[in-house]
């Protein structure tokens, strides 16, 4: 243990990186941005897999883990698909004329 200090640094730096990145996103794309980050934060599926797939997990763990994998997968799948569906609709004037 004791790694938490390192973890805090990672958190702090990625939060700052996040602020910088998001600031440069045009308000035009704020809705797709939110559904994309939503899909990305469903990376919690990693934690859910670890809980569910363990060798001697208790019944409780398996049930909770199963639900968590399901919910996170739902977010990953629908998040990426709907982001792409929205982005496909954004067209410029010149490309539309073709």
């Amino acid at each position: 243990m004791g790694g938490y200090e390192f973890d805090l640094w990672v958190f702090m730096l990625s939060a700052f990186l996040g602020f910088q990145l998001i600031r440069s996103v045009s308000p035009l794309l704020h809705t797709p941005l939110m559904s994309l980050t939503n899909a990305i934060s469903a990376i919690t599926v990693v934690g859910a897999i670890l809980i569910t797939g363990e060798k001697d997990a208790s019944v409780l763990s398996r049930i909770l883990g199963f639900c968590a994998v399901l919910l996170a997968t739902l977010n990953v799948v629908s998040g990426y698909l709907i982001t792409d569906r929205m982005l496909k609709m954004f067209k410029r004037r010149d490309t539309e004329k073709k």
Binding site: A15, S24, L29, T31
Partner: protein, 465 residues
């Protein structure tokens, strides 16, 4: 199959990199779709890597959950109408937050059963994870209910509400801290869970429907922070990074929304904005002008520049496609047509842009408020459809108004202002709009879609004549 776990950190790092790139590429519509692809690749790397970890031995339930999650997720993504995107977003915040909370709960009981007992640091992260997870879960469900209009839009308030909320939150904090100090007091964990769930519900009850854009963004941030806290529990940097990115994203969007309404977080969360203004009953019988579709079409036809200012009312009436037809007609005759988008025009950040993009309005015609305001005095016609408070000059003139100081699209500066509206009733905030009574304003009464449809007809008639 077993893979050396030493490869894993590399995979996770690649996944974190692709998430960062994914968000970076969202800064322009030209690269945004590439962002989605790299994000998907990152997710795939992380999931496959995790599945191959030697700790993971039992696959059946994971695969069933993958299957069910996709079976629900795919139809949602394809069937969902664009007007319902805010609801879907609230729903997915609920799912994501609940997932984190459930994993946290499982981690807690697992740590107690198998040992080693969680350290104070781990326990702190775990409590933060489950607190944010559970409260965001119920809060997002409430937001979903308000957006879906199964729950009342008006804020529900009662005396001492803020004290009750503060009390519940304080109780949750005390129980949480007790659990951090002595993790073995298992009986407290369900209490903690219930308090967090309850707090989520109470938090949203006093918030009006018009504030949902801010609330959604804030809940997005909480869900991300919960995921990040899970990273601390599991010692997983990828979760920390992804959660922090999501957390900061939601936070920034919430700030942008607050600024766009000139409100503070505290005011949004505890201000119960959107209650009917009783003082607004003083709306006098002031004179105003109205016109028919025929007259309006002639004015539009003779204009050189038209700025359309849409609000959520336009989307409710499903008028965006007709509006685009009208804009095409005008463009063909050399009228410069643009759309001015207020940051809170839709029901979530950027929502209006998506709705117009869906109606095939090219995105270079969508202008931001700050960008278009300086040009408003040179605009011949400002056509307002389904928007109200975001063009109300009272925000600039009356310091006592509830929307005082809110940045507005300065439609009143245009040579002619046209407002499509059902009646003279005030908008959501119940504030009378001075714009409607200005000498250069023409009211066009009717359903937004029906009126724009008749405008389109009249315009082609003018052209044919």
């Amino acid at each position: 199959m077993t893979v050396d776990n030493s490869l894993l950190p590399l995979l996770y790092m690649l996944a974190a990199m692709s998430f960062i790139l994914a968000i970076k590429w969202m800064n322009s519509p030209a690269t945004a779709r590439r962002g989605v692809i790299i994000g998907e690749i990152g997710m795939l790397l992380a999931v496959v890597g995790t599945l191959l970890r030697f700790e993971v031995v039992s696959y059946q339930w994971i695969l069933i959950a993958f299957f069910l999650g996709s079976a629900i997720g795919v139809p949602i993504a394809y069937i969902m109408p664009m007007t319902a995107v805010p609801q879907r977003t609230a729903f997915s915040h609920a799912c994501g937050a609940l997932a984190s909370a459930l994993i946290g709960t499982a981690e807690y009981y697992k740590g107690l059963r198998q040992g080693p007992a969680p350290t104070t640091v781990e326990m702190t992260a775990l409590i933060v994870e489950t607190l944010l997870g559970f409260l965001t879960f119920t809060a997002s469900l409430m937001a979903f209910g308000k957006l879906q209009e199964v729950l009342p839009q008006r804020p529900i308030t009662y005396k001492g509400q803020n004290f009750v909320n503060l009390g519940i939150f304080g109780a949750a904090a005390v129980v949480g801290i007790t659990l951090i100090v002595s993790p073995e007091s298992t009986s407290l964990f369900p209490v903690f869970t219930v308090l967090a769930l309850l707090f989520g519900v109470l938090l949203i009850i006093p918030i009006g429907g018009a504030d949902m854009p801010t609330v959604i963004a804030l809940l997005n941030s909480y869900a991300g922070l919960s995921a990040s806290a899970m990273g601390f529990v599991l010692n997983n940097k990828l979760l920390i990074v992804a959660g922090a990115l999501d957390g900061s994203s939601g936070f920034i969007l919430a700030i942008i929304m607050c600024r766009a309404m000139n409100r503070s977080f505290g005011n949004v969360l505890f201000g119960a904005f959107g209650q009917l203004q009783t003082s607004a009953a003083a709306t006098s019988e002031r004179p105003y002008r109205s016109a028919s579709a025929e007259e309006a079409a002639q004015i539009l036809d003779s204009a050189r520049s038209v700025v359309i200012i849409p609000g959520y009312g336009m989307a409710v009436a499903q008028a965006q496609h007709k509006l685009r037809e009208m804009s095409d007609q005008l463009t063909k005759r050399g009228v410069n047509v643009e759309f001015a988008i207020h940051p809170v025009a839709g029901r979530m950040p950027g929502h209006m842009n998506v709705l117009l993009a869906e109606a095939d309005v090219p995105y270079d015609k969508l202008r931001e408020m700050d960008d278009i305001n300086p040009e408003m005095p040179n605009v011949d016609v400002a056509l307002i459809i389904g928007a109200n408070d975001v063009v109300n000059p009272v925000a600039e003139t009356d310091p006592k108004s509830p929307i005082a100081g809110m940045p507005i699209i300065q439609a009143y500066k245009a040579r002619t202002v046209m407002v499509i509206k059902r009646s003279m009733n005030p908008g959501f905030a119940g504030i009378d709009n001075d714009l409607y009574y200005m000498p250069n304003t023409i009211m066009l009464f009717g359903d937004a879609k029906a009126f724009v449809t008749s405008l389109v007809k009249e315009l082609s008639a003018v052209h044919a004549a």
